[in-house]
Structures are given as structure tokens and as C-alpha cells.
Subunit: 395 residues, 4 copies
């Protein structure tokens, strides 16, 4: 018999009932005025979650990868140069995409577990007197390593270098879960998806474009149709969509942003921090280390946990799935086999998180790691019960 | 923001997705042949779960209480005498119902936490030479105290007394979760509901009537219409229902019995036992005692946990709900304030159960009880991981 | 492949999406404060729909039949006398129930198709100088014949006879669809169910009790437990329920009353009248007659349509189901084979009603009745398009 | 109050309950083996629906437009030449996309309402001795005009010209509703979406690639990442996906293909033909003409209906939505204001189609067109009742 445990993957997240019901709509004519009542509140809600007053929001029926492609193809031309750091699987994939689209990439290598080296960005940008670099790429939260980089520092580096490049930020696994300030940080394109902080199924690429990014589009020569933001812009103005939209998902996004804003973004971020910190206390109690090399880099949406040398971390994930019906994340790329990941974003409670921690303990014990059962749980319990003084966790 | 933790009340239980979807049907004409395709498999599925070859099954749009009333009014007449033990809130309510329907009740008092005193039953029945006692009432699982009584022993007592009374068993919180053998134990009426082992919402009273119980109905003078099994019997034979049925719930029941039988009843019972035993290991690790006075009485569907003198056990329940968004059960009647209850029946996994145990620990610690965080969790983890050698828990 | 046509039975009705979603809740602890947030708004919403300031509302997990039993057993004693008219299957069933509960019934026979003969009631009540009649029963809308009786006239008859009997009204297929004025008409007990005007699945018996009916309960000697309103009253006061409630359905009822009251009861009634009148125009265009013998009796929730002599009206229903996948209602009791019924209550639009009318035409043509295809549809279209000047039908 | 009428737009279609429930899944780890149990049956089901033994199937989280882009970017290089006919809005959009991707398009103009001029294709291909044309584009069903073109004739034209170009077919509004024979017709790329014949929400682009098309991809220089079929191919082989898949929609697609294949494709096509023919009978009874200029071109998924000169056909759509809550399709591009469209594909019954026809009649009468109410309905009824001899419509 199959019963449903929560998932502990770094997205898609567990979904609240109300969002599932908002998505599961009967068919609605997307060319009728009813669609406008979904489209505009969804766009407006995303805008507020991005903390921007002026950016234009675009929603595509695609994934976060499609969102990246939207960013590149709507602003750049073949042969254009971009600056990017490689500190994990998702930043690596973005670099790969740039190359497949004929862009030149200046890659800054970083250890997997480190953040974006803003100082190195500054050097390179300062040296780029001719402003051949058109865009700076930054992965806000490296889902593969559980590392949150400092986007404000990247912006400061660009400003100190007085460099006019655009700043593109992959916020797929940070936006709506951790603080993100599009305007304050001078982000030109923010990219995210429906299946992380918005607690929806995969299926929407969500982007914000600054005025500067919109203007860059006028010159962009990379071919695009499906991902063309100008078609979107024109259609939105007429309460429509350039092709058939994913109406149910957009209705879910409308409600999701209402829920997030009504809880208050600061409360949402605090909730993610509290839940994440409980996981980290457990990891510490187990005597293990995170992949992220220092506390300022710890992600509040996913923890990548290093296992001892000689142990295959991927076994944790397959054993947990097979024996306990619980999904964790494997290590990817360079850290494959070295880490397993606990996703702790989206729709989750302290209480459910404890079940994930408890499962990880059983799994590691089953696999022969010297973990004392209950040790991580106790550390997390101690933290949660002191942090949840009021009814935060319950509501 | 409200996210959904599992409930740990002794019913209604957590519900599997597939059952919720089976219930949530569009309207179907209950006078059409489509209804027969729901009715008969549901009746037949229940029959198998009751482990009876010959009993007639009846399904009413009501609750377990309605099921009890069905048992009484279809077999007895005003002034008839019944024998009943009072060892908890639910047996007490049944006694109360008998009296409200003008029956005379010979009550055997038992301590709350004890099972049905079969020996005392035997004495009384043996003494009842004139067979004035028409029915013997037995609560299989006292939901209030977490006590499972021995129905086979009650039957043996009746047989040894050579007494022809009917045997009515309240299996509301046992059937479909713990072994129940209608034919083997000579049960004349079995009563249960949809919201426990069947993992459905409340709304169906489910009964099995032996041939002897059916025959008793011919003389029964207690008034009844809504709960008349003869109307049901006649209607079922014509693929119909005497009034408007709860079609969706019955469709859920059809699927629920298919799931239970396909898992195998023995596996279902073993799963409940394993999950329950983990809870009991935790209780033991906490240094607390169950309300049930001896291991042979321990219920596999609900544990009533005694808290220290001077402590109000009800605070556990209200604090857990308010601070952690988790529902436990309070003590009822004589054990109000003395116990809190953890329900562990229906749709539940080892993993989710650990979150309930972990929550109880935090709550008790918050309220000042000398509980070591993680201690109960560790005891349960140790048990679960050794008992779930294969993919039992996961599937 | 099975696709879903709307049903045209006189209940359960087609259900709005939002109500289905409100019912399909995850398990909630019915002993927690969360339940009060469902219970009280549901009770209060029903009170407003009944148009009463003072009556107490009770909601049982049962059907309308259970509602009738609640009315009888909470106010009467064995041997009490009641006055009732028999003008259809449902009034006949109520009479039958009275007798099975040991009540004496003074039956006023009426032709099936007529309303309650208020003048005859007046004669009998006037003649009952000793006030041996304790309750007057009235079926507001005879679902079997499509006849709406005049409850105000029944009240006037009682008043003119200066008779103190209680007035019980079966409003199962009228309340929430046609005007019902509990206080103004002096109704002592109003009985209805969830599956008609409230547009929910079957599973709730819904009652209003006047102060006088509540007082009568103090003397009522008919046995009852499941249907005891005093247990309900006590539990409601403590934000609880005497046994496990059907929480999801009650949540649906809460939302249903909000929808009805927000649309405005007068608009709800007008909508039902408009849709019903379209069906009647179609019947007229077909050259057929309703079972109801005069326009003042025409029900706005169901039309029973007489077919020519020698034709088995039940064939319409089975043929429609088999060939077209559409459910109509058969004739019951005395009018079995003589009428078929089109239910037009609850969640329905002009547009969907036309599909039912069109189907009936095809069916009758298939079965050899001299019906001109499109004739009834045209009559209904003509009516609907003129009555739906604004966006009434759409919304 | 808002109740749900069926939609009569040419997609997204009305959705069967079971598909909505299959989509509405709790979160599943798409990197676990559970995903393979969805992915492979969905791919295999699509393959059978496309009637191909050898093509590779790809499913993208996108729309039909994304499907077109997939076809172009995976096979062609900038400057490549393609041949395309413009006979409606969707063929025009495809031409536009080609140009935006730097392809040269040889456009064959056709009147909107005509099919693809295969003879003209043959002339052009025959003249293209140097085989500079790399691909021939064909819109199987022009959704804007309700015209189904003859793809076999296009193939014959190519064969007679002995031209090696690839054949790309837009089957968005034909596949799974009208006969489509990928292998027999020598189609190299078939493009469709989830929201038409598959009866799902929008959100999936679905493609079949012949071996020849796969090989063409090795040389294709158009940039692509999100839509790269080689990434898909590699991931599928490892039971995975190159990025986060739309798991719920794919689960719906798996079930949808099972439903279609279990009904039998020929039965599915016959059902669409029957429903469409009923609509055409109605149009004829109204004295109106279809946009499609001859019966061999009539689409079985959508009918574009010409209104009299001087009448704005778009008013039909807005009036129907506002007054009756029913969605029809407007005319697009060159036929804007000249036609309105009735979509009759996907999940629909004869009975529901009659409600659409009846609504169109009321709307046209409201707007002053000389339509006799019931005339179109009668024509369709007459057809349906004779074509639905058995229980075809019901099931």
C-alpha cells in the first residue's frame, strides 16, 4: 500500500492543498476576459515577491532552464561575451547553455561549496575596459551545493568596476524562499520557476526584466520565438498571451503570491531560515559537515551534506526511497557520491522536517555510518521548540 | 500560512490521495445501474474484511453511533435485557444508548484500562437460566483507553454458559486495522464506520449481521425506519437503496476494501502493529505508562498515555495543536486530564509516525515534563529500522 | 470512453466545482477549535436560508429520511396522532414512517398531482376539539409529482382551526431552491438535505426547530440517540458534536450557504423559476402535460411529465441513460410508468438545461412518440433568451 | 453565481474528470524510478497515437509553439530554406517563426478556407533541382479556418518530385482527434500539444521525430538548449529528464493515451466525426456556410462559420460569453470578424454539443441574424439520434 510521505528534494516542493486546488481548474477560455483576472494578479504578485517597482514580469509555460534561455536570447547576440562563475552544477549548466547559443563565456572557477567570488568578478570587469562583457551571470543559490551567494556583493563589484554589463541572476531555488531584492541589488534579469518557493508543480518559467534589460532586447540578435518577451509584452497589454497559456498553473501562481505576501515575505524567509537551521543543527549533531564551506553561504532552501570518505552518499538517497519511501537529493556533478541533499523549502513544517531528519538518521545507521539515532532529531527539536514560541509553525 | 501536518487522532485518520479522489465523484444517478457497480463491490469488500462467509453487510449514511443504533433497533424490543461491560467512554456510551431505547442493561464494571472481563460475563450468563439476556455487548477496541479486548474469550464464555444471546461487537476502531474474525468468533453483529481502518471521512456506518441476527429482527419491536436493515436488504436486492445513498463515500469504501485486500489483511494488521509498537517503544523510553494495564490489551490503533499525577494531560493536546499544528487525542470521561492519546491507525507511515512522536516530545518538554528530546524517537527509529527490513514501510 | 453529461434527476444535483473542493478536505481534528469555524457558519447560513430568526438548526450525518425521523422522534410519543396528506411517494413514505414509529396517522388522500388540501386540513383540525392531533405534516414539494404545495395556506388552516399542533414541513426538494419562510409560515420543524438546493452530495440531514418544537421535545417519549437534538444542542454549545461529524460535507454546506446568500435568495429562486419555466415551455411545445394539475402547483425544482396512455414512461429514463448517457427520473409509486421526471434544481444553467430538453426530444422520438425534434428546445430558447437579458445565466 | 458550462473553443478542450485527477498529483521525485513509470508509458502511448513504429517521441514542458520551435531548431541551420503554405493564422505564425529564426521561407499563398495546394508544392519541389529546400511545412488542421489538409497528398507531391526535404507536420489540432499516420505518410516531424485531442491542460509540446529527422539534427546549427532533443534522448535513456519535468501533466498524458487506445483510435476518430457532422448539419440548417470551401476539407475538430456580410462575427463570441457563459472561438487574422468558431474536439458528447448549438442559435437570434430557434438543434438531433444507434454517445 502506498502512502504519501513528504518529499525532501530541493524542488519541486511539497504543495499546499489550496494551491493544488487552484491549479486543478476546469477549462477556461484564455481569450476571454476571465484570463485577465488571472494573468495580471499573477504578474503583479510576482513583481512584489521580486521586490521591484519597475521591472516587467514574464511568465512562460516552461521550466527554469527555459527561463535562462529567455534571459540570454532576449538580450544578447551571437559572439557576445558574458562573465560567469562555476561553483556547482546549475551554474555549470548555465555556462554550457551560453556556449550552445554561441556566446563567449569568461568562466571564473570556484570550488564547489564556495560562493561567487565577487572580488574576482571585480578584477575582470575592471580589466574589461572595452566593455566587451555584456552580461554578468550569478547563481543566487546553487541548488547542487546548498550555497547562497551574495548578489549585493556582485552588484558592488560591478559598480566599483563602473561596468555597464547587465546582471542576470538565477534565483530558481532562492526566490520566494530567501530574501531577494531585484531593485536594491540592481538585478537586470531575475529568473525563477514555479516549483520551488512558489510551491507549485514545475511548468512555469518566471522572469523579471529591468528597464535596462528591456532596452537591451532591441539589439539582441539571438533567434527566439517561443521565449520572446516582446510578444509576451504585447499580448499582456491586450489581456492575452501569444499562444496557449498554462492557465491552471498561472491561477496557482496568483494564489501562491497572495499567500506569500499575506504571510509577509519576511515571515516566509524567517520560516525557511528556522526550518533550515534545524536541519543544520541535526547535521552538526551527526558530526557531519555541509558542502557549503562557511555559515554565511548556508542556503535556507537546501543543505548538501558531506558523507565520510569512502562512503557513497548516493546510497543514502536510494536506500531512503526504497526502504522508507522518502525522497532526498543526490549529489550532482563534481560532488556526486560525496553529498546527499535535504531540500527544506516551500510547503513544509518543523514537524514534517523532523520526520525527514529522523529518516536520514535511520538510513545512515542502516548503511553503517556511526550516527546515533535521535541525535539529530534532538538537536533540531531543541532548536525548533525554542524558536517556535508562538504558533508560527502551526497557524 | 497553513500547511498540513498528519493528524494523530484515533480517527478520522489521514486519508490516502486515491481514496479522496474516489470519493470526490461527479453526481451519479443512484437509481441507475451505475450504482450497482459501486454498491455490490463495497458490500462484498466489507464482507471479506469482516472475515465472514455468511453475514449480510449493511452500509448506512451515518456514523458509528448510528451503527450501534442499527444493531439494537433491528434485533431487540423495549424491556429486553442486554449484558455490557463499562471499561471506557465508548462502552459507556453504548450502555447509555441502550437505556435511552428502553432496554435493561446488566452492567459489568471494569477499571478503565482493563479489557472485557470474560469470566464475569460467563458467571452472569451461566446464572441467567431463563435466558432473559438477549444480547451481549462487547467493545473490541476501547478507543478511549487504547484497550483491545479478547472477543474470542467472550464467545468462549457464552459457549461455556450455553447461552443463546446474540453477540454484538463494536469494532469501530479495530476493524480493518486489527484482526477481526466475525465467523470464527461467532459475532452476530459487527459495527464499524468509514473513518477509521477504512481511511475514509466519517459518514458511513458499516455493519455485518449474522443469520441469527437477521432472524432476531423478525421479532424486534424497537421502532426504526432510517436504520431498518430490512429496507436495505430489499433495496440491495434490486440494486438500489431505500433513500439517497452517499454515493461518493461508498465508492471510496469500494476502493478502500480493494486496497486492504490487495495489501492482504495480515499485512495490514502487521503494519498497524509495527507502527503501534514504535509508539509504545517511545512511551517506554519516556518513562511513561499506557492506560492499558497489560501488553495483551495494547491496542494497535490508539495508545492512551498516562501523564504524571498533577499534570493535566489535556494540555499536551491543546499545546500541540496551538504551537505545532498537530492533533492528538485528549482523555475522555474518567481518564480526562490523565491521559493523552496518539492515534496510529489508517493511512500512516513509520516516517510520519516519527514526526508525531517527535512532536509529543517537544510538547512535553515545553510543558515541563522531564522528557529527554529524541529519546522516544530513537527508540522508535531503532524498532522501525529493524522491522522494516524490506520495503514494507515505503512501497 | 465515458464523459460526463449533467444529470437531470431531482437530486442529488450537479455540483459546482468550488463545493466539491470545499468538501474534499484533508482530515481535520473535529475536537479542535478548527471545527467550530465550520460548524457555526454552517448552522448560521442554514438559519438564514430557512428565513428564521429564532429556530435552532441541526445538522446530522444522514439523509432527508433521517431528517424526518429526527422530527418525529424528538417531539412525539408512541400513540400520538398526526395529520398528513398523501399526494405522492414522499408524503406516503413519511406516513409509513409515522406508523412504523407507533404513531397514529390521520391520512388525507389527494390525487397524485394535487397539492395539500388545506381546506380539508382545516375541517379535520376544527373537528379535533380535544387536540389529539399533535403534529401536522406537510410536504412542501412532492418530488415524485413535481407539485409544490402552499404551506402558508396550511398555516392559515391551522390558525383558523385555532389548533395548537406542530407544523412539520418536508422541504427536502424545495429549500434553497424555492421560497421557504420558516418564521412567516409558522413552521415548527423544517426538514431538508444536503443534496438538493444546497448542491452537495447526499449525507447531511438539515433541520430547523422552532422554540415550540424544542419545548415539545421535553415530553417526547419516542426513543432516539443518534437523532437526538438535545445531544446536538449541548455539543454545539461546546463547539463540538456528539459523535464524529461529516466535516467535509459541513464545510461544503458552510460555503454553499455563503454562495446562496451572496447570490441573494430571491435571485436563487428566480433562477430556478426561469430554468423550470423553460422546461415547462418545452413540455407544452411537445403537446404533453405535467403531472401537477394546475400552474399554481408547478414545482420549480422538478417537472413530472405525463406520457401518452399505453406508453411506458420509464423507457424514457432507461433509454436516455443507455443511449445518451443522460439521467432523468422515473415515475414512482402510483405514477410509475406514467410520468418521467426532469430535475432542474441546484447547479444548472439555461444552456445545460437545453441539452437535457434536447436529449428528452431525441429519446421520445427514438421511442416512437410524435415529438418534433427541436420543438421543445425552441420554446425554451425563446423563453431563456428573453428572460436572460443581462448576464444572469452566465456570471 | 458561476456554474460551469462546457467550452466550445478549439482547445484547450473540456477535460475528463479522470485526467484532471491524474494530473493533480502530490509531488513525486522526478529523479526516482517512479518517474520512469510515467515517462515511458507516456512516450509509448504517444508513439501509438502517432501511428509510427520507429519515430522517437519527445515531450517538452511547453506549448505547441514550442513544439514548432523544437522542429526547426533541431534540424535546420540559419539560412536554410523551407517551403510552406499560408492558408490560415497558424500556418502564418509558423512562417513567421521560421523567419525569426533566420530561415528563408518559400511561401505558397492560398485562400483562407483552402487546404494546402499539394500540386503547387509539387511544382516548386520539382523545380528545386539543387534541393535547396530542406523542409516542407504542412499544417494538418488549420485551427483558424477549420480546414483539414491532405498530408498524404503532400507526401505524394514530394515523392513525385523526388525531393529529399524533410516533412514537418503541425498536427496540434488534429492528432488524437482525426486520423494521423506518421509512418504511412512519411512524416518526419509531427508536432502537437497536450490541450487538444489529448484532453489535458496546455503545458506539453509533444513531438515525433523520424530517423531521418534525427539524423538531420546532427548538422543543425540553429542554437537551442531548452528544446534540444538530444538532451531529451540521453535523459530518457537514463529514465530521467534534462531539467524538471511537468510530472503531473505527463501522468495525465500517460492515462490519456491509455484511454484513447483503449477506446480504439478509429472509434475516437468516428466520435469526432459524428459530433462534428452534427454541428455541420446545424450550420446548414441555419443557411450559413463554413469557411472551409469544400466538404473534403471540413475539419472534425473545429468549424469556422461565416456570418453574413456586414455582421461582426466576433460579436457572437463576446455575446455568448457575456450573456450565456459559453465560450466560442473568434475569427483570427484575415477572417477576423467574418467567422466564429465552434470547437468540437476532445472530451465532448452529442448531448453537450447540442447545448453549444442551441446557444449559438440564441446568440445569433439575439444579435438579429435570421436564425430560426431550434432549427440547427433539430438537424443535429436528427443526425445524432440516427448515428448513435447503440450506446456510443453514452458509455
Amino acid at each position: 500500500m502506498s502512502f504519501q510521505n513528504p518529499v525532501f528534494i530541493p524542488g519541486p516542493t511539497n504543495m499546499p492543498e489550496v494551491l493544488r486546488k487552484a491549479i486543478d481548474m476546469p477549462t477556461l477560455d484564455h481569450r476571454s476576459p476571465l484570463f485577465a483576472e488571472i494573468l495580471h494578479p499573477a504578474l503583479e504578485g510576482v513583481r512584489k515577491v521580486l521586490k521591484t517597482e519597475t521591472a516587467k514580469v514574464f511568465i512562460f509555460p516552461a521550466s527554469g532552464t527555459g527561463g535562462w534561455e529567455t534571459a540570454l536570447t532576449n538580450t544578447l547576440s551571437p559572439g557576445d561575451k558574458v562573465l560567469a562563475a562555476r561553483n556547482g552544477m546549475f551554474s555549470q549548466r548555465w555556462i554550457d547553455m551560453c556556449r550552445r547559443h554561441g556566446l563567449e563565456v569568461e568562466v571564473v572557477e570556484a570550488r564547489w561549496g564556495e560562493g561567487i567570488p565577487a572580488a574576482r568578478y571585480e578584477e575582470i570587469l575592471t580589466a574589461d575596459k572595452g566593455h566587451s562583457i555584456k552580461a554578468v551571470l550569478a547563481t543566487h543559490n546553487e541548488t547542487a551545493t546548498g550555497v547562497r551567494s551574495d548578489i549585493a556583493a556582485v552588484r558592488r563589484a560591478m559598480d566599483r568596476a563602473k561596468h555597464p554589463a547587465l546582471l542576470f541572476v538565477d534565483g530558481v531555488s532562492s526566490i520566494a524562499s530567501m530574501d531577494f531584492r531585484m531593485d536594491e541589488w540592481g538585478v537586470d534579469i531575475a529568473v525563477t520557476g514555479s516549483q520551488k518557493g512558489f510551491m507549485l508543480p514545475a511548468g512555469l518559467a518566471i522572469l523579471g526584466f529591468s528597464g535596462k534589460a528591456m532596452r537591451a532586447g532591441e539589439m539582441a540578435a539571438l533567434p527566439r520565438t517561443f521565449f520572446d518577451i516582446r510578444d509576451m509584452e504585447k499580448s499582456y497589454a491586450a489581456n492575452g498571451y501569444p499562444y496557449t497559456p498554462a492557465v491552471g498553473l498561472m491561477n496557482g501562481l496568483k494564489l501562491s503570491t497572495q499567500m506569500l505576501l499575506s504571510e509577509g515575505l519576511d515571515n516566509v524567509f524567517a520560516r525557511h531560515h528556522r526550518i533550515a537551521e534545524g536541519v543544520r543543527r541535526a547535521v552538526d549533531a551527526w558530526g557531519l559537515k555541509l558542502c557549503a564551506i562557511s555559515p554565511d553561504l548556508f542556503s535556507d532552501t537546501v543543505s548538501a551534506i558531506r558523507t565520510p570518505d569512502g562512503f557513497n552518499a548516493t546510497d543514502v538517497v536510494s536506500h531512503a526511497a526504497k526502504k522508507y519511501g522518502v525522497a532526498f537529493g543526490t549529489g550532482l556533478g563534481e560532488v556526486a557520491g560525496k553529498v546527499f541533499r535535504i531540500g527544506h523549502l516551500g510547503s513544509l513544517t518543523d514537524v514534517l522536517t523532523l520526520s525527514g531528519i529522523a529518516t536520514a538518521e535511520m538510513v545512515m545507521a542502516d548503511l553503517g555510518l556511526p550516527i546515533r539515532l535521535g541525535s539529530g532529531v534532538a538537536a533540531a527539536q531543541d532548536y525548533y521548540r525554542n524558536e517556535s514560541k508562538s504558533k508560527k509553525a502551526a497557524a
